[in-house]
Symmetry: none
Subunit: 304 residues, 5 copies
């Protein structure tokens, strides 16, 4: 049965159907972190986003869609997120063994225009494939944001009606935003908030820097002395911006980097009250044994 902490988290989703709440519970209760209220998710959509070689050549067993199911199981992640084809190609070998998040939209690096994603799966696909959640990326700031927000709105309404969870990747990008703005603390907090306002159950953002992008925001951060000096403080601010911590907010690991650096980030996320991490390239681009070891270390921090 659910732990006290899981029950507390679930209590924030009372307006949802029982099926949706059950699927949030399923993810919170699964794997190594099951019951802690923390989450580590394995996302593998980089093949689509960056191309196969950039994604899988560093650890070539990852070309096989079965590999990522095995990694998710071996490491005990709370869920595994991937696009349609990648799930279709392996799901039957792992029936009901790990909660699945079907990524509903995807971008690719062959197109270099305004930040946008294509819809590549349906809620019907999610049900047919036995997924617990749909995943959707929005690019706040993009000239295509209106279309993206509205696509999410429609899919989220449909998903909630059939008991699925809505996980939103909220990545400010496009429009007038420059690279530095994308991870500015005010922008990251804002992106988390927008995802919550759009009805996300779980929000994924990038760990923010201490840069402040919007002038109007800077005045307030300074006047109100919002602490953003350390990563932990910034995480706390992002979590607060997600309905005062009443929505699950998890953080991406970003580009592949050294283990020490990763674990320091995780400690800060944990200290700042983040709900967990979504670790893609830093796990599946390492050999399975190393990836599992790293994920276990990450989970140990969250479980502490």
């Amino acid at each position: 049965m659910a732990t006290k902490r899981v029950k507390e988290i679930l209590s924030w989703y009372k307006s949802d159907n029982p099926g949706t709440v059950a699927n949030i519970a399923r993810m919170l209760n699964h794997g190594t972190l099951g019951g802690t209220g923390k989450m580590v998710i394995l996302p593998v959509d980089q093949g689509f986003e960056h191309g196969p070689a950039r994604s899988f050549a560093p650890n070539s067993p990852g070309y096989d869609p079965n590999y990522h199911f095995q990694l998710a199981l071996e490491a005990g992640t709370n869920a595994y997120a991937a696009p349609l084809g990648q799930i279709e190609a392996a799901v039957n070998n792992y029936p009901g063994e790990v909660p699945l998040i079907l990524k509903m939209n995807s971008s690719d690096s062959l197109y270099t225009g305004e930040a946008d994603q294509s819809i590549t799966a349906s809620v019907g696909d999610a049900l047919r494939l036995g997924c617990s959640a749909i995943g959707f990326t929005i690019y706040p700031g993009s000239n295509e944001r209106k279309q993206m927000f509205e696509e999410l709105r429609e899919l989220a309404e449909e998903a909630k009606a059939v008991g699925l969870v809505v996980v939103v990747w909220s990545y400010p990008r496009g429009g007038v935003l420059d690279k530095k703005a994308e991870t500015a603390i005010d922008v990251a907090a804002y992106a988390a908030h927008i995802a919550c306002q759009l009805g996300a159950h779980i929000v994924k953002v990038k760990p923010p820097t201490d840069h402040i992008y919007l002038d109007a925001a800077r005045k307030v951060y300074e006047k109100e002395k919002i602490p953003i000096g350390t990563l932990a403080e910034r995480i706390r601010h992002v979590v607060q911006s997600a309905f005062d911590g009443r929505r699950i907010v998890i953080f991406s690991g970003g580009a592949a980097k050294g283990e020490k650096e990763i674990l320091e980030d995780i400690k800060a996320i944990h200290e700042g009250g983040g709900f967990g991490s979504i670790i893609g390239r830093n796990s599946f681009q390492r050999p399975m044994k190393d990836a599992v070891k790293l994920l276990k270390k990450i989970m140990a921090i969250y479980a502490s």
Copy 2:
């Protein structure tokens, strides 16, 4: 991950969507018997079928829909089956904690005409409430059988398309069938076969007697010397009649009776290759502690 036996069972359902197979796996892997390939299910539709006092007065906490979730969890049954209102009234207190079978049709004892059931829930309800399966009763032999088979056909097609499991209660009744015919070995085996032909993933029948009802059948049973002398032999024959054991067949406990008698039946079901039991009145009409104790004994037999 799935045991060898669970994998073997799942291999019989290859024509189904991954979502449906995942939900079969979810039920096979849940609870005390998880992974054994055996199932004990708690069904509580007697309130609707026999009225509240006949069902719950012997153990009055059972009037509360929460009680049966607690019993299912305490005993570790593979699933809990109930009609719409009873699940709606308590499901939020047990999010994702036990696989649910939404009973889609129900009969009541205030009506005494031809054996028939009313449809009381939809596939949409099953999704909204986070159920793993729909449950449907058919009455082979009834003058209403055509309507019932066709209602099942339609709901089953809809359920399979969205990744749900179809559990069929196959109870011969009505038409020219007398009481003795309803549990005759040829009739019970036939009832199991019909449910399989209608596309059921899991079939529930009553433990058969050694009576043979149809004259045309009796000739064959005698000529082919089909062994039906013991309950174990009859169970084996019913399981064989369900696509040579390639569909999950479970057996009801029937009217409330003594523990010794029940356990002997279970031993015979287990010996005959039955996949498990669905134990309603014999569990929820006992005090919780006694019910859990009895269910644990039943499960110990199946796990042996």
Copy 3:
């Protein structure tokens, strides 16, 4: 804000949409009994059921649909229930002034065949007219019960999806049931239970007699010594049969009768834990002033 008792009652409806819970709250918080967790509802469908003269000649202002809105407001009933035309004809004069229950099906006395009702309104009508709930009558035991249960199932699913409350009048009638059976304690408790199983939020039944109709039930009532000697005891049993009191059960006043008799019934309903009354003919067939006086007396009992 909601009283502790109202909050407790609303906690039983957690699987429902916020809109539905809000409408239950609206009814519980409206009028003289607002906040007490008790309800008195004014139903005026007798014009359709018994004809206009039988219904309104005793107090002819009742011919005017505006009259009943005024009565409901004057007396401070929690809600007013009526068929389509009667609400359409007056609702604009009382915008948002009293929670409305749109009666979705109706019978009439010109037809004397098997007990059944015709569907006379839609969920769309309920929304368009600003109603808080739909009302639906079922006749358990009737040869038409299957059709009625299935109509309710479909309308209830639709109503819940748009945030409406489902109020079920559960009146055993038809089939082999005789007059005496219709109000037998076992039948009344069963009728309340069936309505709950069909997903009703609020159930209306008749106050039961101490007659027991079903032989199979009598054995249990005697063996388990279920107390049914007084009306209060019987009310308590009916409420228990409605998911152990976790659904709102209210009782009809029945045929017009003397004030003293009525108030004694109300006291017994209140003592037995009933959630309130639905008072039709005993209110609108009296002059407004008398009716209001009587209703206030009834409410005073429930508020005590």
Copy 4:
């Protein structure tokens, strides 16, 4: 490529969609008789119709749905026909290996009222399972014939629109027809004609006797001296009644019987211009080796 005879047969179906014609071709070109314009089909719906023991105990490997696919493949029948569950349970092990006819309606022997069948599959099921045809039984003469004809009409229209073939089992039964009437030559010819009129592409009837049932028909048979003395003559008459031989008419083998008797029937059917046979019990109730041997002998006759 198609033989001259197959091309001739296909030329009778010019009003059909290319997909339907392709599926007729697929059946005509498949297996041992491929290209001859003759057909032997393996139907296994007796489990549903007569019960499992009566059907499969004489040759118990037949309890397993895989067995019949293997038999169809081993013998090289043109197609295999079965109800929904039996196909679902094995089809994935034989992908695209034999043309499939999904039996859309079925009767059972537990019900003994007026001759009728329940619809147990949909056109969507046929597509999802990769079938070439739907199979439907009608009972001309039954009090339920109107309903059956109309069900067929609707399914046939739907099937033809998506490129499927419509195979009709036309079995006069019920109403005022007695046992002898069911296979009377005038009735059998009439049954074949009705199936053609209802839009069947392939018609299955029983080999007729020389009995004439309808008085009005007898007068004509005698006046016009229609030759019906031998089985071959009667077959010729039935085929002529099916649009002058412009619809494929095949004949059932009936109850299990001796090989010699069967082969004589086949010779007569062949001599009379019948298009082939549908051999159920006489094949799957024999050991596989014997069944294949018999089917090969039957095919040799048709190929001669």
Copy 5:
């Protein structure tokens, strides 16, 4: 029955309906290469894409839609792919004789704007015409890619539900891509990967050059020392990029050229583990006899 290799290939499509798997099997088992797991497909959509004279004047019998069916049959290709009208105009002359791929979208050379295609057929057309698969072209990189991916998503979901196969032509084009980029190895591998992620069962790409287009990709190719020096090495990389070879990837022949050059390409594709070729202009622009001879030589390489 299926060969071991065909069974292995089919095992990659376990999440699909039996009907879809049967249609993949049908293509793998048809024609000269039937059973080898290799495929040669005849596509004739150049009339639409390049205009009739450019396509058919070099071998004028090709103006006649019947010609291409004959070519496919004569050469024994696994399938024949064409747009709607071209199939409609000849399909009835070749009923069920060759698996058909209905091309669902097409571009033309009269329009010279951004790379895009128009939808020119429906899934209903594919069923009505008896096709085994739908074919769809995407242009990764194009400014219209979002619309194209989403059109494919919708048609693929529909096609899979009715048992059809989804064949995707993945041709990077448009946007900022220049001619050289279109066949760069990183782009070709990426294009194959995108088609797989979108749920394609069979992917068609162009044989890649050793050019690397994306800077970000080049770094990885160099660091990981991915061998791309020979065509066989590049084919191997593309196949690996298609879910580690768990999706069927076939290669186009490109512009018409000399036989020697073609056969060398085929050998490299075969050596690199490619699943086959789709040979359009190089076959139908030659006289029938020469085309068949060339196709047979190509098939001989794949069969070796």
